[in-house]
């Protein structure tokens, strides 16, 4: 099983390549270009910070952050490139060092270099987003102008801001133009709340929008008979459908369709309002080519998800919350038909808010672009 949060990036070859370019004077023309050893040292510190592990080595990382905080302005963009291979914790170490550096630089921040870096979608999204934040507080007009080409940007915060700007630009336009732009932005948006807001606007203006379709929820499922979960035993129990999770078996399957904007597979509606039970739901999803993708599930119940027999998500949490994309796991999909199996466990809580027994699931790339079609 591969959980997204556990991913560890590979060695930062891209960044070191950039260091090489810089140190031989192909990049940059200011003080740093005259001091390639200093640049290399700074970038090496930035890479160490960016690739820091989740714990340990704090003293060394703090020293490296101090080095970054003291860099010359010309070193700023080369250090931003170190975000290319950043770990979750490494992002914070490097951000702290760079924010302090920018704070110290004052009006010496190389805005033109930062602008070019932010504008380049091939640069690491984290670094570009940080650079955009600096630009916003120093040259808001330039920052805003960059957004015009970012409607399909791989950096989600920049894409979101670009969509907001585009929508704001037509706020006073004639309704047909507004509707046309909103339709375009609905296709561009990836943040769920932004998709929902644009869809709501379109509905208010007479468009029929299938939000479930836009978000790409897997709609067609078959639910198994129920199994015992009294006392919570069912979560760990291996019932027949998961004995061969790649080709689940059950004595009875019932067709269930996901309903509503939330793409909910409501097992209470399908199987009866039950407590202390487990059911499995299976769906087939076609992929045009083999690839890794994110499986994103939301449920108020304990869930386990398998893709082609490989467990990709398991969360034994009952009635704490429910949200779209609540749990995310990475899975390998093959070209053609793939089998997704969900084990959804309902407990015995009696409160009214603990009655729901449902889930929603979609398959996306890392940006949230829906993937896969159902046969």
């Amino acid at each position: 099983m591969t959980l997204i949060a556990r991913r560890r990036p590979a060695f930062p070859l891209l960044v070191l390549g950039f260091v090489g370019l810089f140190s031989i004077g192909l990049v940059g023309k200011t003080r740093a270009a005259d001091d390639p050893a200093g640049v290399a040292e700074a970038v090496a510190a930035a890479v160490r910070l960016a690739t820091a592990s989740a714990s340990g080595g704090n003293a060394e990382r703090a020293e490296d952050a101090d080095r970054i905080a003291a860099i010359a302005p010309a070193m700023l963009v080369p250090c931003l490139a170190a975000f290319a291979e950043a770990t979750p914790g490494g992002v914070n170490w490097l951000t702290n060092g760079l924010d302090r550096a920018v704070e110290r630089m004052g009006d010496q921040v190389p805005l033109a270099d930062v602008t070019a870096f932010v504008a380049d979608p091939t640069r690491p999204s984290r670094g570009r987003t940080l650079g955009y934040r600096w630009l916003q507080s120093r040259d808001a007009a330039t920052a805003a102008s960059l957004l015009d080409s970012m409607l399909d940007d791989p950096a989600l915060p920049l894409r979101r801001a670009a969509i907001e700007k585009r929508l704001a630009a037509v706020a006073d336009a004639a309704e047909p133009e507004q509707i046309a732009v909103h339709r375009e932005m609905l296709a561009a948006a990836r943040d769920v709340d932004q998709v929902q807001a644009i869809a709501a606007w379109l509905r208010e203006h007479g468009d029929e929008v299938d939000v479930s379709q836009v978000l790409g929820f897997v709609k067609n499922w078959r639910a198994s008979e129920t199994f015992d979960n009294v006392g919570g035993i069912g979560y760990a129990a291996v019932y027949p459908p998961e004995k061969q999770a790649a080709a689940p078996e059950a004595t009875a399957w019932k067709e269930v369709a996901a309903e509503g904007d939330q793409g909910a597979v409501d097992l209470n509606a399908a199987l009866g309002t039950l407590k202390g039970v487990v059911s499995y739901a299976v769906a087939e999803v076609d992929m045009p080519r083999g690839r890794t993708a994110e499986v994103r599930i939301g449920s108020p119940c304990a869930v386990i998800v398998w893709v082609n027999g490989e467990k990709v998500i398991d969360r034994e949490v009952y009635h704490a919350s429910e949200a779209i994309d609540q749990y995310v796991g990475e899975a390998t999909f093959r070209a053609g038909t793939n089998t997704v199996l969900v084990k959804c466990c309902q407990n015995e809580q009696t409160e009214s808010w603990a009655a729901d027994w449902k889930f929603q699931l979609r398959i996306c790339d890392q940006l949230g672009t829906p993937l896969g079609v159902q046969p």
């Binding site: 959980l3 714990s55 704090n58 914070n92 702290n96 984290r126 034994e316 704490a320």
Partner: protein
Amino acid sequence: MAAGVILGAAPGAATAGEWLGFRGGDGSGVAADTAIRRTWSEEEGIAWKVDLPGRSVASPIVVGDLVVATASSGPQQDQLHVVAVDRESGTIRWQRVFQATGRTLCHPTSAVAACTPASDGERIVAFYSSCDLFCLDLEGRLLWQRNLAVEHPRAGNDVGMGSSPRIIDDAVFVQVDCQGDAFGSAIDLATGEDRWSVTRAKLASWSSPLEVDVAEHGACVLMQNPRGLELRRADDGTAVWLWEGNVGGIAMAATAEGRVFVPSSGIAAVDPTADSGRPLWQQPKLSCGISSPVVFGDSVATLNNGGVLAVADRADGSLRKQVRLAGTFWASPIVVGDTIVAVNMEGTTFVVDAGGSYEILAENDLPGSFPSTPAVADGSLYLQSETALWKTAAAAQP
């Protein structure tokens, strides 16, 4: 299991000059040696106001010449802010932004910035619902970080975590209670390394660790969840006392002079040195909602979600008075000088006489939603709404 002789309330009772954690550095919520002005409004009696860079339901702290607040922002609430405000001028001295590494889902009424930061006067620790813990110096330099949800992948609660860190003897104590990877840890304040860590019951709670000193064991940390209390030595984590009972999952216990006042069917007063788990007294009318009880003088007071302030004799639990305030309360009451200060969600701060009459002396309105327990230092209150931080002007000198 009995804990031995209790020395008394946790040391380091809030001084007039600083307020170093949730309900102060000692967690008591008492600042006896200061006084605040009685009245203020948006137009009068306010020293300054600062807008926060995101949402927060945490409380501010006051350390040195800084007021430190946390906030979270972004569509996924995954941008974690630490904001250091100049205490005198209200200008932002520095601001740091971190990326959450753990879960950032939470109830719409909460925020990922739900845990009050803490300080030892030299360092600031900021903890978030995402289980990210950052230690910074007073200039905003990151000294260490712990991405605890990376270390404990199933840690977190999608309602939102709310337990605030507590600093005891150069260690920061965190309590991560949830249905997944629940644990409690003592983390060295200087290095960020674990001193000890224990697995806790897979049960959600939002209460915060509290220092209780016991003669036989020295400084101990009290952690509670809905099934009871657990007292552990601060230095090595050895469990020295367990108390089983139905305990509130949000309001945290208070302690004073050898007793622990536990939110449990009202308030139960328990003695951690006794072999018997039987409460010394239990007063059901001391009802806690989200707000934690406060012990001051010979009294204990509670505030329920509906705004009923109840005061009882802390020796025997006999009820002295119930006073109906107005509104809904998340913030815990604090005691400042001879007044009880309680802030409702609607932005009204009640100043209540703590000297025996328990009369409402003043009601002061500010705009916004106020889930946060106020801080107090040097005669000023620091009131935090979900989006802004306000400082009241100091009380006029007599």
